[in-house]
Symmetry: C2
Subunit: 121 residues, 2 copies
């Protein structure tokens, strides 16, 4: 039989909304999520896990309390667990996030910016 | 301070050899590895873990006992644990692999195609 690859571009064609991660695959108890970001997020951290950002299109800045990192397409960065961070994108950026299943986008902070979790496309 | 992103292209500029995965980052107990493949590999599986393939450049075919999947740049595929597979690339393909730390490229099969593990660039 022919198995089907998961294509990032095709999956991004299925949604337009920003700040709402969509799960596209799982590896053991980890999830791969696509997300569109633009503008400023809130400060948060993930107490029990690292979080991986891979930029597929656009430019992302991740602010830390003591600095920042800028990521363009073809760049990745792993935010260590417990480290406060705040993503920012002037223009829309398309990201692949990798983190354990069940992790909320706002960490333990909660509030109105918390996206629905575990939404598959 | 300014943190540095990990750039796939820059990292690929640091090595030419094929079939020798290089670790570029860790997330918890998982590793991100870049690898250049060309030609045929051996049949193998990973008994205890899924394995993620993301194609960055070129075309990869992964054969299974009951079929195959073809991946181009911007495609990903998760090979489930315990599933025998055999990567193949007619021309050199550049991949990002994601799997737990300590996984050998040949699974439990061993032999001359087994690459040195945990080599960082």
């Amino acid at each position: 039989m022919t198995y089907e690859a998961i294509n990032f571009g095709k999956k991004f064609g299925l949604f337009d909304e920003q700040w709402q991660p969509k799960v596209i695959a799982e590896m053991n108890d980890y999830q791969f999520k696509l997300v569109r970001l633009q503008g400023d997020f809130i400060w948060h951290d993930h107490k029990n896990t690292d979080e991986t950002f891979i930029v597929l299109e656009g430019v992302l800045r991740i602010d830390f309390r003591d600095g920042a990192v800028q990521l363009s397409a073809g760049d990745m960065f792993v935010v260590p667990k417990g480290v406060e961070h705040k993503p920012y994108a002037e223009h829309e950026v398309k990201l692949l996030l990798i983190e354990p299943r069940g992790i909320l986008n706002t960490g333990h902070v909660g509030g109105e910016r918390t996206a629905e979790n575990d939404v598959w496309i």
